[in-house]
């Protein structure tokens, strides 16, 4: 019941704010929490799967995928490295729900998907050093984290287009740097938009960026009441499934 009241009052507050200040009211809330976000670390104090160097490389990549824009934070500023490291250390990174029996064969036609024997954690740990050495070989020995943003974008594009040899196969239907980039971007999306309980989407800043309200359970009245006024512009402070633990 406590949760119910909390949800309602929040929403009413937001509605009231939206009625007077429109989107400016929302922007006010966003910038208010931005200060907290800037204080929060982009790098976990203790890493479980990645080395610090790997985390810095993948963090720099994520910050080109979802860069800081004016006052809006970048991917690592809302917890991407926290999210990814936990995922790589946990079930998904360890190959949960992954059929891992051989023989492992490089596909000769499209449509077969992931066919490596590596669990996702091993994929990251194998490819991130390659990304860095690719940058070093092109930009005077400088790490991916040290080159300019536009140079980083050039490397990212080469990865996306499958032009970086990551040594995991030579067939275009196999696991190319483009396949890795797809995996990475899926994780970026998750880090931005998964429920905050997973370490990313810190303070629901990812959800607020796109205007997603989160878990409707948090609003007490659910959407049903709202859906009857479905032509309203529904604006709330987003809340995740962990709302009861706040």
């Amino acid at each position: 019941m406590e949760r119910f009241k909390k949800g309602i009052s929040r929403r009413q507050l937001l509605r009231g704010a939206a009625a007077t200040g429109g989107s400016l009211a929302l922007a006010g809330i966003a910038s208010g929490t931005l200060a907290e976000a800037q204080e929060a670390s982009t790098m976990p104090t203790r890493l479980r799967a990645l080395t610090r160097e790997e985390a810095e490389i993948v963090g720099a990549m994520a910050d080109r995928a979802f860069p800081r824009d004016g006052s809006s934070p970048s991917a690592t500023e809302i917890g991407f490295i926290h999210y990814l490291d936990e995922q790589l250390a946990g079930g998904w990174g360890s190959g949960e729900r992954f059929y891992r029996q051989g023989p492992f064969v490089q596909p000769q036609t499209s449509g077969h998907g992931y066919q490596l024997s590596l669990i996702p954690r091993e994929v990251y740990k194998r490819v991130l050093p390659v990304v860095d050495s690719y940058a070093r070989s092109r930009y005077g020995g400088r790490s991916f984290t040290e080159i300019t943003p536009s140079q980083q974008d050039t490397v990212m594009t080469a990865l996306q287009n499958g032009r970086v040899d990551i040594g995991l196969g030579n067939d275009p239907n196999g696991f190319t740097s483009g396949s890795f980039f797809t995996m990475f971007m899926a994780n970026v999306n998750e880090g931005l938009f998964a429920d905050p309980i997973y370490g990313g989407n810190r303070d629901t800043q990812g959800w607020r960026w796109v205007g997603y309200p989160g878990d409707p359970m948090a609003y007490g009245d659910y959407y049903f009441t709202v859906f009857q006024h479905r032509d309203d512009d529904y604006q709330v402070q987003p809340t995740g499934v962990g709302h009861g633990m706040e």
């Binding site: 891992r100 499209s110 990212m156 998750e190 938009f193 997973y198 959407y223 309203d232 499934v241």
Partner: protein, 588 residues
């Protein structure tokens, strides 16, 4: 360890989803003792209180079959080596109590009358040459009129919300004018329509089409079904597909038929019971063998065996148990594994509405949507089009979640600053129209046992041989061209639309549909089909096989309504025919 032999029961059911659940409710009520063996865990509403979690359920697949233990292999033709789907992708089979019926969307259709006499209908109207030479479309051996009462029973049991289009031959405004005649209206009224759905309706009507609400198993109003089961209405939270419903508004086996079976006292559900074999003496099944969570093997003898797992495992269990004649694509002899079909997407349009602040695309329900049926089945003239089949065109408001619904920026970028700004602008203001289309049967599309890859128990995986064919490429191109004007009429700021396209080969990675069909098809020919029109196996009269594995080819509509109707048909066959005379109900 010695095998544990259980006392014999009247009926053993493999699985505990819609098909097993419906049969269990009907047979237990009639006094038969039923044991259901479910490989997954027990579950229900209580498990879904905290399930509004896109990562855990939609992305990391919590409710689906665990690919680490069992998956399928895929090849595009017999000349290719099949490779396993190492992660689930294109389809998401269920596991656990309620099966995939727990995490479905709830779109509950009846196939068209012409779908059941597909081959005859097309040949009568267009001549034999309408079919490509390698296509193997068949009649079902049952008509819509025969199945109608069973459809009604399923809809009344699960409380489908919709608007009839044809009742006893009379057209009803607001419903689907192309549907088969119904004996009555839906038990509950249609769901509330979204803003995007209303836009679609207006645009479609302006183009001369007849839009109607998608029939939904997400209740529009509180409902008590004929079995006395009461459920609450849908809250439009948008967490249906890939999620369980925490308020029981979505019709699923755990809140409908399974409780009915349980309260009879004649039903026993054993979970973590993995069935490996159906035992038989060559003429009748004698029971099943299964393994429990500790690795102990059990034998459950039964008078009747219900093969009610899912399309894939219905076929796989017959093949592993050496029941029926496996299909051979070279000679086209044999029946088990024949006519694998799927569901064809590829025709769609996406519209961005820059001034729209009220799509509220995160609200909705799995089956909330508006559809048109003008380009489905043979509802339009196929002469000269170069393809058979059609699609159900709809705008779905089924709850858009942010991880899996970010689109490229107008400049095509999928990362970087432009993309970041684009997703901010578009996430809440984008809606799409799509056609879910038919999947015909072909000589070269079938399933059999994989010669290389095994499941976690050492049994061969099921191998799927399937690819897109020219007929479907022409079909989706046509459908895309019909969708584009509807989206244009909705007046988006910008849109992506055009002829529908399919990838060079069927791709197992991107989710498309869990509507896999065939392999134990029904019909009236015992040499080419596996079951008769009561879903009774031709070769083993005490075995009933029920599921989308019975479909000779796949229609454009979601299969569950038809699977539910077939389940009630099988119950009728057992109670009113087989039990009186325990032999073949039909002779071929």
């Amino acid at each position: 360890m010695a095998t544990i032999r259980h006392p014999s029961v009247d009926v053993v059911a493999i699985g505990a989803g819609w098909t097993a659940g419906i049969l269990a409710a009907e047979l237990c009520r009639a006094g038969m003792r039923v044991v259901a063996l479910e490989r997954g865990r027990a579950r229900g509403e209580r498990d879904f209180a905290d399930d509004h979690d896109e990562l855990r359920f939609a992305v990391r697949s919590e409710l689906f079959q665990d690919a680490a233990v069992e998956t399928q292999t895929l090849r595009h033709s017999t000349s290719e080596k099949a490779l396993p789907l190492r992660y689930l992708g294109a389809w998401l089979p269920g596991t656990g109590e309620g099966g995939a019926g727990v995490h479905w969307n709830g779109q509950t259709w009846r196939f068209h009358p012409s779908d059941f006499v597909y081959r005859t209908h097309y040949i009568d109207k267009y001549g034999r040459d309408i079919f490509p030479t390698d296509m193997r479309q068949r009649d079902w051996g049952i008509t819509y009129d025969t199945l109608e009462p069973y459809y009604t029973t399923f809809e009344d049991m699960s409380g489908i919300s919709g608007q009839a289009g044809v009742i006893r031959g009379r057209r009803i405004p607001g419903g689907n004018p192309f549907e088969g005649s119904r004996s009555g209206n839906f038990p509950t009224r249609p769901m509330i329509t979204s803003v995007a759905g209303e836009k679609f309706s207006t645009a479609a009507r302006g183009l001369g089409y007849a839009p109607f609400p998608v029939p939904s198993a997400n209740l529009s109003v509180p409902y008590t079904n004929p079995d006395g089961v009461s459920r609450n209405h849908c809250l439009y939270c948008g967490f249906c597909e890939r999620f369980g419903c925490e308020v029981g508004a979505k019709g699923d086996p755990t809140v409908t038929v399974l409780p009915v079976a349980k309260r009879t006292g004649n039903f026993e559900l054993r979970t973590h019971a993995w069935v490996h074999r159906i035992q038989h003496d060559g003429r009748r099944a004698t029971g099943v063998l299964y393994t429990d969570a500790a690795g102990q093997t059990h034998e459950q003898p039964a008078d009747i065996v219900l093969v009610t797992s899912f399309m894939f495992n219905n076929v796989r269990l017959l093949l592993l148990s050496r029941m029926g004649q496996p299909y051979d694509p070279r000679t086209e002899r044999g029946s088990v594994g024949r006519n694998f079909a799927y569901q064809t997407f590829g025709a769609s349009a996406s519209g961005f509405f820059g001034d729209e602040d009220a799509f509220n695309i995160f609200m909705g329900s799995g089956a909330n949507g508006i559809a048109i049926d003008e380009f489905n089945a043979d509802n339009f003239n196929h002469r000269g089009l170069g393809f058979v089949g059609g699609g159900s065109i709809s705008l779905a408001s089924n709850g858009t979640r942010p991880i899996q619904n970010q689109h490229p920026a107008p400049d095509g970028s999928t990362w970087g600053l432009n993309w970041k700004r684009s997703i901010r602008d578009t996430f809440r203001r984008t809606t799409s129209i799509a056609a879910q289309s038919e999947s015909p049967a072909y000589r070269q599309h079938f399933v059999d046992l994989d010669p290389t890859y095994n499941d976690g128990f050492g049994d061969p995986l099921l191998r799927v041989t399937f690819d897109w064919e020219p007929n479907e490429r022409r079909m989706v191109a046509f459908l895309g061209n019909k969708i584009a004007p509807i989206m244009r009429a909705m007046r988006p700021t910008r849109m992506t639309a055009g002829p529908g396209m399919l990838p060079p080969h069927f791709d197992t990675v991107a989710y498309q549909s869990t509507h896999v069909t065939g392999g134990t098809i029904m019909g009236d020919d015992p040499t080419e089909t596996v079951v008769n029109d009561f879903l009774q196996m031709w070769d083993f009269p005490n075995v009933f096989i029920i599921g989308a594995s019975n479909f000779p080819q796949n229609a454009a509509f979601n299969p569950t309504g038809t699977v539910g109707a077939l389940s009630y048909r099988a119950a009728d066959g057992i109670l009113n025919h087989y039990n009186r005379n325990p032999g073949p109900i039909r002779t071929g």
